[in-house]
């Protein structure tokens, strides 16, 4: 088993929390993993990505080869397109539909969504709206992760356990909010 994921977003949107959650889940299932992050200058509101590789066998490269990626999981619509040269033809794009506009020349959102929909396998969800509806507006990143869970070869319970560990210091309330966010995202994927 092997799953290569590119996590995409803008510095500060919480893709490292997504990465940490998948990472915990992978460790609990004795999977090999490599996860390359972006630190430094780009974290100041720039485009950021993380290459996340999971496998039952040892992994060679920290970077996913272009054309070999199984999932682009993005917390922002335009950012999901930035890495499609990495995606396999039948790979999945799972993306939040709410744009993060911090540049003056952000393209027309409908046009962006239309381009995403041209791909074969796509899940587009309004993770910001779902997160607000469940009363946890800051958990939109975890909502997006929830929608990707059916395509990652880790049992769903392991993701929930991972969230409990990662948000342990922040208390029961935050843990429950994030578990609910994860389930809400999952429900979108299941209902498709």
């Amino acid at each position: 088993m092997k799953t290569d994921i590119i996590l995409a977003g803008v510095g500060g949107q919480g893709i490292l929390s997504i990465a940490a959650t998948i990472g915990m889940g992978a460790l609990a299932n004795n999977l090999h993993l490599k996860q390359a992050e972006v630190h430094g200058m780009s974290q100041r509101g720039g485009a950021v990505q993380s290459h996340f590789r999971l496998s039952s066998d040892p992994i060679a490269s920290d970077l996913i080869p272009r054309g070999g990626c199984d999932i682009v999981l993005s917390v922002e619509p335009m950012e999901s397109l930035r890495y499609i040269d990495f995606l396999k033809k039948d790979g999945w794009i799972i993306t939040n539909s709410t744009p993060f506009v911090n540049i003056p020349n952000y393209p027309d959102v409908d046009e962006v969504i239309a381009k995403i929909k041209e791909r074969k396998n796509v899940i587009i969800l309004d993770a910001d709206k779902i997160a607000k509806e469940i009363g946890s507006p800051r958990s939109s990143n975890i909502v997006a992760l929830g929608a990707a869970t059916p395509f990652i070869d880790i049992p769903f319970e392991s993701f929930e356990e991972a969230i409990k560990l990662i948000f342990k210091k922040k208390g029961e309330k935050i843990i429950n909010a994030n578990i609910e966010a994860l389930r809400a995202g999952r429900a979108v994927a299941d209902a498709r």
């Binding site: 720039g46 060679a60 054309g67 335009m78």
Partner: protein
């Protein structure tokens, strides 16, 4: 033992701690920062009383590390590649003094310049200093090299360089620990003049270094970090250095690699293994995630050897490697999968460069500076290394240079000497104490007509909010250097103070001498830093 999930940078820190380190010395710099931060936040390091406070710059770090080594204990000095330029004097001479306690110089290079002004390859520095270099291919090797690096250093009484790159520094994987070793006792060098580089002694020490080199090669021959993998297809042999080995192997997860491969993790190169590869293969491909240093060595000046790599276009001349580039060099690239972004998609993806945070004090300072300078015309603002370098981008377009730590003040002085008056310097608080102070002395000694804006946000911001050595000291430092106290002016960079700031700046720009203006407001990324807030209150900086 349960594996730890660590960044490459963290693996080096853990390896050094477990290998008996007594102190880490560093100045923050992407991608090396996380090494020292890991030690600072690690309970075991506190229990073992391991030094981990930030140094003022890489040179002071290197010298402190050398001092700890002199006293017999194991020390590691960490920096980004351009930091080694700052530390170069101490670094090169530490190869002549040699070490006493194990001494590691860990340098994180940044090919493709993700967060840097160049992509220089620190292996050249290691070669220049004539010391052993270790280059990890994985997080586990990063751990192992820090752990065993101290022993290698103590075997030859020589500093050892660990060279790694951004991609490994900031990538996480499982790492297995080794038994925790004791720290060294305090022991003075057996030769009392070892560290006294008077010419007569230095000549002797240098001959000792030259005589050690055969031993370094022998150690490389036996090193487990260098491995010769036999192969049947000898039309091509491959030398893969450090991380490049992983990118190579990524292309052979489903098929077998039939070419002989020499994996390099320790330099100087293991001579007999290189000879074997060159002899038994018709041609050789060199994979290095950096400059073509080994390629150049083996190709020879007259390029008589059939050696391929970055110099003959098999691989790009610059930038970091990846699995696809190596597939192309080996002619393995398949056309089955989409590997390009279609043009119509490219057209709608807008660039999203990093930017100063909403609410950042640098922004208010730049807005005022741009207005204050409008009477004088463009092209007179010399800036430095930090978040404020982003002032080069629209909508500010506020600065005209960014070269190296501290260059803002001295370049402004030189331009003023040439007649560009007024000339302005923009520098951050941490960069000022790193390398700005000495330049300010030059300017004061000549009463240069420059205006130095020290944008003080109480932290080393760009690297994530580390301690600033300048905290609470800037006015006293400037006065001590000899700046007229009437021309040291502090104000708060806020939108509501815009007119007041412009007025102050206009007045100081018109002054025929050195003035220092200090826009002072806490970095908004650090507002939750309890310890820093406490210090700011104590020093009454608000």
């Amino acid at each position: 033992m349960q594996k730890l999930l660590l960044l490459g940078a963290e693996a080096i820190a853990q390896g050094a701690i477990d290998g008996g380190m007594s102190g880490v010395y560093a100045y923050p710099g992407t991608p090396s920062t996380e090494i020292t931060e890991y030690v600072q936040q690690y309970d075991l390091a506190k229990e073992r009383n391991i030094h981990s406070q930030w140094s003022a710059n890489e040179k002071t770090a290197m010298e402190s590390g050398l001092g700890m080594s002199y006293a017999g204990k194991r020390a590691m000095v960490c920096m980004k590649h351009v930091g080694l330029n700052v530390a170069a004097d101490a670094f090169i001479n530490s190869a002549i003094t040699g070490s006493n306690g194990g001494l590691l110089v860990t340098v994180a290079d940044d090919p493709s310049m993700h967060s840097s002004q160049n992509e220089q390859d620190s292996r050249y520095y290691g070669k220049f200093a004539q010391i052993p270099i270790l280059e990890p291919a994985s997080q586990q090797e990063a751990y192992d090299m820090a752990y065993f690096g101290f022993q290698l250093s103590e075997k030859f009484n020589i500093p050892v360089m660990i060279r790694f790159t951004t991609r490994l520094a900031h990538s996480r994987a499982g790492v297995e620990r080794k038994p925790l070793l004791d720290q060294n006792e305090l022991v003075l060098p057996s030769n009392p003049t070892q560290f006294v580089l008077l010419p007569a002694i230095a000549r002797k020490q240098y001959k000792g270094l030259l005589n050690s080199f055969a031993g370094f090669i022998e150690d490389s021959e036996e090193s487990t970090f260098n491995h010769y993998y036999e192969g049947t297809d000898k039309k091509l042999g491959i030398i893969a250095c450090g991380l490049a080995y992983n990118y190579l192997m990524e292309n052979y997860t489903e098929t077998e690699l039939a070419h002989p491969v020499l994996k390099i993790g320790q330099y100087p190169m293991p001579r007999s293994k290189v000879e074997k590869l060159m002899e038994e293969c018709d041609e050789v491909l060199i994979l290095e995630d950096g400059y073509p240093i080994i390629e150049e060595l083996l190709k020879g000046y007259l390029a008589k050897e059939k050696v391929h790599g970055r110099l003959d276009g098999s691989l790009p001349r610059d930038g970091e490697l990846d699995p696809n580039l190596i597939a192309k060099a080996l002619k393995l690239a398949s056309e089955d999968e989409v590997t390009e972004i279609p043009q119509d998609v490219k057209d709608i993806i807008a660039n999203r460069p990093p930017a100063m945070c909403v609410g950042c004090g640098h922004i208010d300072a730049y807005n005022a500076l741009n207005e204050a300078l409008s009477d004088y015309g463009l092209g007179r603002v010399f800036s430095d290394i930090g978040c404020y370098t982003l002032g080069a981008l629209p909508p500010y377009n506020a600065i005209n240079s960014c070269v190296d730590m501290g260059a803002s003040i001295t370049m402004a002085k030189g331009a003023a000497d040439a007649g560009l008056v007024p000339a302005v310097s923009v520098i951050g608080d941490s960069t000022f104490t790193h390398s700005g102070m000495t330049g300010l002395i030059d300017a004061v000694n000549e009463s240069s007509p420059i205006t130095v804006m020290i944008s003080d946000n109480f932290t080393t911001g760009m690297t994530g909010g580390q301690d600033s050595a300048a905290l609470g000291k800037i006015e006293d430092i400037c006065k001590g250097i000899g700046v007229d106290p009437e021309h040291i002016i502090v104000f708060t960079p806020l939108k509501k103070n815009h007119d007041q700031m412009v007025e102050i700046m206009k007045k100081e720009l018109a002054y025929d001498g050195v003035s220092v203006i200090i826009p002072r407001r806490q970095c908004i990324q650090t507002t939750k830093n309890v310890a820093l807030n406490e210090r700011i209150r104590e020093l009454n900086l608000r």
